[in-house]
């Protein structure tokens, strides 16, 4: 994923993640498995990075969104992507 260190708010994270997932799908469809899996792992890493300090995101406060709710949603995404990586690596959960 490009410039992961610049993630500062939830909208940036989500925008990047969606585009990265689309790119990963393209790579996987072209049978470029390693590149696709790396892209999925990048999304997981960025989610982890965001979840390590969600309190620093001003958007959450501005939108009156509870951090626990966002955390639950992002963990769901993380679980989806982890299961995909497991399948692609031949370790279905």
């Amino acid at each position: 994923m490009t410039d992961t260190s610049a993630t500062t708010d939830l909208l940036t994270l989500i925008g990047r993640a969606i585009e990265q997932l689309q790119r990963s799908v393209t790579l996987l469809e072209q049978c470029e498995k390693e590149g696709g899996v790396t892209g999925l792992a990048d999304v997981i890493n960025e989610i982890d990075q965001y979840l390590s300090s969600p309190d620093e995101d001003p958007l959450l406060c501005l939108a009156s969104l509870p951090a626990s709710h966002v955390r639950e949603g992002l963990l769901g995404v993380r679980a989806d992507l982890t299961s995909v990586i497991d399948v692609l690596r031949g370790n279905p959960s």
């Binding site: 989500i14 585009e19 958007l59 501005l62």
Partner: protein
């Protein structure tokens, strides 16, 4: 219309309003009352139309256009609502408003090639939904749709998610102008059969995108519809109200640029 008449209309249920609307519609002498009744029905459902339109804001269509399409659905609901059935008008109207907005989005996105099997899938789903609604006067549950399509509820849910995912877009594209791949393939590609990616894996990624988009939608709705005051946020963050205001303006501006960019691409 005077205040007394307006108050008397306000005391009627939506179903009673429609009954009176139909009784007066087409009668030259009652034209002003017909218009007043129609106005009252529309006024009462403005919130419903907007709340449904907001759910489709990620389609990339301007919100005002989605709301306009929603009003067409509302007027269709007024014209076609069956008073004999024990269905609430709002339930019926929700179905038609949602349908009209979907039609609008589909019409605007005809330049995108949708795979034949996805179109077939969508047509079967829509036919099943519509035929159920005609008979029962309410939208079907996943189980009821599954019975009609010979699918499990889980499979129906997956198909519906796939259909919804065709309208997903990132509102964040303009923020990454330096991105080496600034125009990624649209998510419709996720639904295209491919030898390199098994369908179940593709579906899991679609689910992940769906979750992300839902969070994105909640953030946007929170920012512009249910948020705290800028002063309250500023106090909590330890920044000034002016800084909060600038942050909100920046986000709004980026969203506007993205939507305009998509509109230009389509044109």
């Amino acid at each position: 219309m005077d205040d007394t008449k307006r108050k008397s209309l306000a005391s009627l249920t939506s179903e009673e309003l429609i009954e009176r609307f139909r009784a007066t519609d087409g009668k030259a002498r009652a034209r002003s009352e017909t218009l007043a009744l129609q106005d009252e029905i529309v006024r009462r459902n403005v919130g419903l139309v907007k709340s449904i339109a907001i759910q489709f804001v990620h389609s990339g269509e301007p919100l005002d256009d989605l709301i306009q399409a929603g009003y067409i659905g509302l007027l269709n609901a007024v014209a076609n609502f069956d008073l004999a059935k024990e269905t609430r008008f709002s339930t019926y109207a929700t179905h038609l408003i949602r349908g009209e907005i979907r039609h609008h989005i589909r019409d605007r996105h005809t330049t995108i090639r949708i795979p034949q099997w996805v179109q077939t899938m969508n047509r079967r789903l829509k036919e099943a939904e519509d035929s159920f609604f005609k008979v029962k006067g309410r939208p079907p549950t996943l189980s009821e749709l599954g019975e009609r399509l010979a699918l499990t509820p889980e499979q129906v849910a997956a198909l519906l998610r796939g259909r919804e995912s065709m309208t997903y877009v990132s509102i964040d594209q303009e923020r990454r102008a330096s991105d080496p791949n600034p125009a990624p393939p649209s998510v419709e590609r996720l639904m295209t059969p491919s030898d390199g990616l098994p369908p179940d894996v593709k579906m899991r990624i679609v689910l992940a995108i769906e979750r992300l988009t839902r969070i994105q939608q909640q953030v946007v709705e929170g920012l512009f519809y249910h948020g705290k005051s800028q002063s309250e946020v500023g106090e909590e963050l330890g920044i000034s109200q002016r800084q909060v205001s600038r942050m909100k303006d920046r986000i709004l501006s980026e969203m506007r640029e993205t939507l305009e960019g998509q509109s230009e691409t389509e044109n």
